[in-house]
Symmetry: C2
DNA sequence: CTGAAAGCGCTAACAA
DNA sequence: TTGTTAGCGCTTTCAG
């Protein structure tokens, strides 16, 4: 005797009701007489019946799963967002399909297609630049999508993030107050709007406001790794910078250690402020002063936003901007 | 005119073949005449048809998705494993549903149930202790499961990890060689077999081998956070330890900084060796000497293992042990 | 409050 | 090599 999967049909038969009724109690539909409900529940318990989510998804056209496109789970900035996303997803009974893209637009597109094939109810995208092909694929699909901790310079999609330009302005202002005249701007690829457009704009603006001429020599474009930062020190020295704003914490840790390993005293001889206030800022010595962003909350709010989209609720603003802050630690005077 | 989702049926009609034939070409079944295949492919292209994975899953009883239970994506140890898992999953055309459990057994069970409801083809579990209820749920389900970077002292499930006991032995031996007589053993909860059983056994064994009496005062049981390590310093001092082996990198970074912030010189006055060789070991100063584990590979091999289980292939050994190593950096003499 | 019945979009025998 | 035909397990009108 082969033990087969027990289905809604088995429950219906045993409880002597129709499949429809079983479906109703499973879905918490109030239109069921309490006694009937009780009877059905008992049978469900006795048979250890578990609804098949796949069948449910096919019949209802809702899978209660959302796709998450992340550059790299291993990066603390993104994994912090992801945790916020997952927690509120769980809260709203959604599950997350996680896909690493390495920020590579070809992968992003392929990943998007498998997500769509799996009929996800919504998508959360993390990444720093949306290629035009990806943009058009997003636009074509009926699936709602929101950007988490990422920014779309064309403001085509819902998105939650902080005001990157203003945050950098504030950080640089602090450095300026300490008398620094040559402040390095160190970030990931400038072709990513978050760096090349918003952060850089903030940097230029505060410089201008203080009557300091912008010097392209002080702009350092690299990748997001610790190692890249570590290697950068000689170049920073040649540029005669006395301080730096850095767009990523791992990168900043690299710069910090590169400087210190070369014998310079931070913050006495060189000041550093970073952007994401992730754990790393407290693990290095001296601890890094940083712009603060509510990473977990950005993830959480993005997911909440997405649930509204999936429910076709009206959203007032396309972009939600969360507050940022600044925490002074020991890498600045 | 409402534009409806285009299905296999539409393709069949347009290409003037049966659904079965379309299904065959979509699935790469060789039993299709080349000309027919070409014709179908053209229609698929023209109609921009995309197979519905949910329907496919229901009909074939295979969802090509696997569930991943992870304590916390934000922890670099686990996210490194996760990255390995996801990469080989992608390679084998599987997708990953990620669920954070916080190592909490109630959450693990609830998460397992939703994974099973979603009909995942397999499960990868990360976590340091399998509660008996979870164990029985695993055992009851027909879904294959493998443990990644985690160990089951009852060896009931497939699992891939390193030899934790031997690795700790080697690390402690090094400390012993430097003349340390009182070496602290610092780890997460001892009720987790990885700590209380394997690592601790290695520690005791090498001590015994060197004729040093085991002193319970040198055992520090805490949680995995950086902060916990930082707070531990006073206690370590009272225990008169001159060195420590630590079971987690963040924890070790905490111990390191706690010591240094108290003015002690590492490694001159105190030596530290840690266990996971994650990025953090190179970010702190001095850099941490560490046991090395192929984290990414552990994840990758686990997933590969799972694919075999899902294909019902025979596996020679239930446990696959990957090689560990030891890298001397600057936190030891 | 409950049931009957028609699918959801696809796969998988089984025939032809 | 191709088509026919049952389902997969559930939701959802529509009646009653």
């Amino acid at each position: 005797m082969e033990k087969h999967t027990i289905t809604i049909y088995d429950v219906a038969r045993e409880a002597d009701v129709s499949m429809a009724t079983v479906s109703r109690v499973v879905n918490g539909n109030p239109n069921v007489k309490p006694t009937t409900r009780k009877k059905v529940l008992e049978v469900i318990e006795r048979l250890d019946y578990r609804p098949n989510a796949v069948a449910r998804g096919l019949a209802s056209k809702r899978t209660t799963t959302v796709g998450v496109i992340i550059p790299n789970v291993t990066n603390i900035y993104f994994s912090s967002l992801a945790r916020g996303i997952d927690d509120v997803a769980t809260m709203y009974k959604y599950n997350i399909i996680l896909e690493n893209s390495d920020g590579n637009s070809r992968k992003e597109i392929s990943v998007l297609n498998t997500l769509l094939a799996k009929q996800v109810d919504g998508i959360i995208y993390m990444g720093n630049s949306i290629s035009s092909e990806l943009r058009s694929q997003f636009a074509h699909s009926k699936t709602p999508i929101v950007l988490a901790g990422s920014i779309d310079d064309q403001e085509e999609f819902g998105s939650v993030h902080i005001d990157y330009a203003a945050a950098i302005e504030e950080a640089v202002a602090d450095l300026l107050n300490h008398g620094n005249q040559r402040i390095a701007f160190i970030s990931g690829p400038l072709k990513e709007p978050i760096n090349g457009k918003y952060r850089l704009a903030g940097y230029k603006k505060i410089l201008a406001k203080n009557g300091i001429e912008f010097d392209p020599e002080l702009i350092f474009e690299t990748d997001y790794s610790y190692h890249a930062g570590e290697m950068l020190w000689p170049a920073i020295v040649s540029a005669k910078a006395t301080a730096a704003v850095v767009g990523d914490d791992e990168l900043a840790a690299g710069v910090l250690n590169g400087a210190q390993d070369a014998g310079v005293k931070v913050p006495q001889d060189f000041e550093i402020v970073t952007s994401n206030n992730s754990k790393i800022t407290e693990i290095v010595r001296p601890k890094l002063s940083s712009i603060t962003q509510p990473l977990y909350d950005i993830g959480a709010v993005s997911m909440r936003y997405l649930t509204k989209l999936m429910n076709k609720e009206e959203i007032a603003e396309k972009t939600v901007e969360l507050p940022y802050g600044f925490i002074k630690r020991s890498s600045t005077k």
